[in-house]
Amino acid sequence: MRVNSISRAGRRTAVGLSVAALTVGATTVAGPAAAQTRAAPPAAADCSAAYRIEQKLAAGTTWTMCWHYESEAGLVLENVSYQPKGESRPIRVLTSAKLAQIHVPYDDGSVEYDDLTGAGFGQGLMNMAPGECPGGTIRTVKVPDAWDPEHPNVNGLCTTTRSRGHAYRMQGDSANKVFQQQGKDLLVYTVNQVGWYEYITEWRFQDDGTINMNVGATGSLSPGDYDAGDGRGWPIGKGAKGYATSHSHNVFWRLNFGLDGTSKNKVEQYDSVVSPPAQGGEAPRNKTTRTKITKELAGDAKNMRWWRVVSTTGKNKDEHARSYEFVPGASSKYPGRGYTKHDIYFTEYKKCEQFASHNIRNCGTGAGKSVDKWVDGQALTHPVGWVNIGFHHVARDEDQQPMPVHWQGFSLAPRDVTAMNPLTPPELADQNGSPQNGS
């Protein structure tokens, strides 16, 4: 096992160097490298080098953020900033991002877990072996009340880069000219054990500005729940044996937006409705309308509906307001509890509101302990987004043993953060706007 040991003399600088030395190409060996020259430092509240993640990807995009670890929620990312090539300063996207709950009710009604607030998710940070963070760096995390008290320092935070395949592809004007680029992402992840399950919490920052957040459930099915009744489970033993009880995993993320360095952002909802062809028209038509969300909202997914959070101060070079759009992954919403009945919530920032259910801090008498209760008509000036992605787990034979990772999550896609594709090659840089009009 290679350990990056930092000599006392160069310690302060060395820590900063190793942060910046994540492999950009797959074949280079991770280790201290030449320091990266940085653009103007971000204006927001910062953190020391040991708690900063900064990665310049091959395309010229830099992602920067602070991290720390919380007792219940686990990994917290703050001041997440995106700086594509051509931007002189980092653009802040998120002031704070973390999980807000993993809610696991079992179909037979016998038990219901709240992993972050009751089952020690935060205490269960796992050590990762070097092979679990290929091409990357594993950092030490001090875990309050770690479950193995002899080892409170856990090698538990992996930062690495990974290829995602085509970022774009387009035939050029001449027969043998193709514009294509292979995309590269910064990956940040931890593994937390809760009872039998292990959850991989993954944050994936693409070189084109997209952020993907996913939780992967793996480990083992609950060995104490193999006696499911009719319609409540699936046999994964031989024949009609071993009916593993079905259950849901409802994962919540809490995102405090800070577009362009301010927490004062706007929320908008878009709906598209298809109607029959116009008189003499060829095809059905589709009309998209915008609803400004000015008050707290418990939002429900609907066909051709989406939300975005819009900057109030920042515009791109096309003079369009910068924004980030929610792109949910597949979700099976669980109607059994009030807080899981909606797909997304927007609440006005309140520092006591930390968990989507079984909230620990006091938000006042009668204020409620779950996110659905906090949607109570407040004006939305400092919006916090809570995303709920559910998975109904009906076990299958392949779930033993160990259980293959099952991912659930969503993305935040940049909308008008840049005036063009941040990866636009120089030859195409003048193709902005309608081809007749030029830029």
Binding site: R11, D46, A129, G165, G242, G261
Partner: protein, 292 residues
């Protein structure tokens, strides 16, 4: 209630006074003993690659092999890399100063300091910890989030939230301490709110369970699995889950939620997991009871 597996010496059902116990062997990477690896009756699992040995052989390790459901979101893996990706580099923990800056987590020094500041004379004299001793039980110390007006202020004060559980009156007390000024800015007291158990509380619960008549099955399973008598929580690795009563909960545990109750996940050190989820420890009443 008991789970019937094909006969295998990896699984055993034990009935002790009507209380059925099961030993489960769980994969824990290198910790697993070869002979006892099979969880079901078949020996299919023996060939599984364990995490520690996988690193050196990783080639094209950039594939993420996700399910179709997730592929659209995270972006599917590509990149046929000809040379192997190197395993990760484990970075040694950096030296820690006295104070953190900005949004750094609390240093050890800062943590000690805010605990001291938060625990004023009144609270330490009147409060009671999980063992019945003087002073409330420390639960968590974390960096606090800013006030709404401070969200965009890089010079916002550094604050900590310190929470204690007072067993005298079953209250969760949270104090917000300003690290810059050293002052306690807020105190909040709640009843009926149960955060995850601290290490000390989990250990105390294990102590109560080991000593209790209802812990007979646990003691027997431990003896079977390790050959040693179970006398001390030190022999175990422990996880816990908060237990809250609901309308169907048996009377002895009806106060759980107002009381601080938990279920234990027990693992013998260098041994198997032992399922003890049908037992609940009420730390407030210092008793053990069966549930469901």
């Amino acid at each position: 209630m008991p789970k019937q597996w094909d006969s295998s010496d990896s699984w055993r059902n034990r009935g002790v006074g009507g209380n059925v116990r099961t030993i489960v062997h769980r994969h824990l990477g290198k910790v697993v003993a070869g002979a006892a690896m099979a969880v079901t009756g078949t020996a299919v699992m023996v060939g599984i690659t364990l995490p520690g040995s996988a690193g050196a052989d990783d080639s094209g390790g950039q594939g993420s092999g996700r399910t179709a459901q997730q592929a659209g979101q995270a972006g599917h893996a590509g990149g046929r890399q000809q040379s192997a990706v190197q395993p990760g580099v484990v970075e040694r923990a950096p030296a820690e100063g006295d104070t953190g800056s900005g949004r750094d987590p609390l240093t050890d020094d800062e943590t000690e300091r805010v605990e001291r500041l938060a625990l004023d004379r009144g609270l330490s004299r009147a409060g009671e910890n999980v063992e019945g001793g003087r002073g409330p039980q420390r639960i968590t110390v974390d960096l606090a989030e800013p006030e709404v007006g401070e969200l965009d202020d890089p010079a916002a004060p550094r604050r900590a939230e310190v929470s204690f559980y007072d067993y005298k009156d079953d209250s969760l007390v949270t104090r917000t301490v300003n690290l810059d000024t050293g002052r306690v800015e807020a105190t909040d007291t709640q009843h009926g709110v149960q955060p995850p158990l601290s290490r000390a509380e989990t250990v105390e619960a294990a102590r109560l369970l080991i000593a209790d008549p209802l812990g007979a099955g646990l003691r027997a399973d431990h003896k079977d699995a390790t050959g040693k008598k179970l006398t001390d929580p030190d022999q175990l690795l422990l996880n816990s889950m908060v237990f809250r009563a609901n309308p169907g909960t048996p009377a002895p545990l009806a106060a759980c939620g107002e009381h601080r109750c938990l279920r234990l996940f027990v693992k013998a050190k260098n041994g198997p997991w032992i399922d003890s989820r049908d037992l609940v420890v009420d730390l407030s009443a210092r008793k053990v009871a069966e549930v469901g």
